[in-house]
Amino acid sequence: MGELLWLIPALPFAGALLLVLFGKRISRMLVSAIGVGSVGIAAAITLVLGIEFLSSRPDFIRQELWQWFDVAGFSPSIAFHLDALSMVFIFVITFVGFLIHIYSTEYMAEDTDYARFFACMNLFVGSMLMLVMADNLLLLYLGWEGVGLCSYLLIGFWYKEPANGYAARKAFIITRVGDTAMAIGLFMLFQHFGTLHIQTISTEAAQVWSVGNETAMIIALLLLGGAVGKSGQLPLQTWLPDAMAGPTPVSALIHAATMVTAGVYLIARMHVIFELSPVAMTAVAAIGAATLLIAGFAALTQHDIKRVLAYSTISQVGYMFLALGVGAWSAGVFHFMIHGFFKALLFLCAGAIILALHHEQDMRKMGGLSKKLPVVFYTFLIGAASLAAFPLVSAGFYSKDQILWLQLAGEKGNIWLYLAGLLGAFITSIYTFRMVFLTFFGEEKTHVGHKPTLAILVPLIILGVLSFAGGFIELPHNFGHVVLFSDFLSPVLPAVNVVEGLSQYEWMLQLLAAVVSLSGIFIAYLFYYKKPALIESLHRSEIAMALHRFWHSGWGFDQLYDTLFVRPYVYLSKLNKGDFIDSIYTFIAHITQGAHRLFSSTQTGVMRNYVAGIVVGAIMIITISLLL
């Protein structure tokens, strides 16, 4: 068992390589076969491995391919480490990835750069798998940067539009800022442990450092910096909405299901370090809470359906951070998985709609699509219900409920975090159903062109089922008490310590969450379906419009960073284009030239002057010698 492990990332890489080398020369069929097939086989292997893993339940499987390098004891390997945590991630990556690949064969069918698209997608899947399977942090960093690269390439996939290129660079650079922090964290880890091997660090850290250690805190915060960048959390969240410039399957795969949750993976993976530092834990939770609120409000005001989903992703990842921040590791990972399903589903549905409406993304120009695109409508509804945590029948309800519950019940949680989460849930259901009502109800505003066929519909249906049923593997203990998921993760991630004596109030909180969710849906119904006049009246209010503009621009973060960093940097570097240090040397050269001109002007070419010069010189010398 485990010999096949290396194939999981290797297959997508091989697919990418093949497509890069031969993509231009082979038929589209073959391109799809390679692109989809490589991920499909990887998914199949994952399934096989998963079944074996579940049946034998080892702590982990390690496979070393070769030693990367070895310098004075710094010897990371190209080695894979499979445990329950990476299993969950691999599962989501390969399966959701596979479905999205299938979907892409139809979505991208008209595109001229078909092969390039699949090459990048395969490369992404490979890198992402590398990230979650890495047994040391350096290899993780490789995957980490690799997905960044793919994200860059895919956001800027339609490269002819400068705005897309801008969004792509923005994404890369902003995540790179976080990566820098993470890299420094790695330097510190290496300095203290002499290795970057994750298991070694995890075991040694707990022995070396006690809780509250300052070094551990700094390392944890630096790693958090990396996670924040990659996961689009405050304060590095601004790249994610712009990243929607890429094709929709990309948004579904990279910017919803997998890459943006890399931060979650990192924190969960390094949970030992985080647990050593309450400050860092609080920071994680606080960032999560702040982000989920800010992104939620921003999502309320977006018109572009993909931007709504992007902000929603930021917000949902915020929930995951919230969970991680209170030590509810498995709850965070659970929400990651469920979110992967329903958010991919929502994006894919959005993609189907966009494709049907001739690349129209503005929700104000949509409407009444429930009749025209029934399958899309129902699957979208499932996804939306899950996102809005519709009580009992949606997977999102269970995952989010668990997080909210642990905010109060977990010993690191507190009431403010809970309230933030609750408010976030309320906003979530408003903007989710605002989307539903605007898109699918009301009158039809744009003609429906392309009707989705099987390649689009099948992934939608599968994801719909998963978004609906995925929640039932982990049910609260007051009904069902299914703990398959957290059990599965328990060898890797410690369970959260629950404060005693609160569990009898759990149903009240669940009820509260249900009410909040339903009332959000009701408000959306009221404002966007039943009485649009209410919106009109809001539009007339100055304050509401100002708030709308503020939220619409994502709380002004873009402008802030623009004035704080981008403009000064660009200004300074443009100012210094000619390199002022060079002018120092030019100045020296000018002095020399000036002296040259001065002295050479004495060479008049008139012989009499030279004679006169000789005479004057003779007089001077004689006079001086006489005077001396």
Partner: protein, 102 residues
Amino acid sequence: MTAIPMETGLLLAGILFMLGLISVMIRRNIIFMLISVEIMLNAAGLAFIVAGSHWAQPDGQIMFIFILTMAAAEVSVGLALILQIYHQLKTLNSDAANFMKG
């Protein structure tokens, strides 16, 4: 044979030299400049003769012979140069030959 004071002889050499020098400085005609240089050379030779006669040694006269040789060589080369300059520039104006001015 009454000796002439050396100062007088040297003064004469000095005056002749000065006259040649003035001429070199004011003339533009390159042949005149050559003539002036000859005057100066002659004056220098005179100074040697005066000094040699003062000490009753042959060395002064030998120096004069060397100066003479040098003057002869100088005049021949100088005149050849003048001819060249005249052919190239069609003038004897020394100021016209100022291609190497800075």
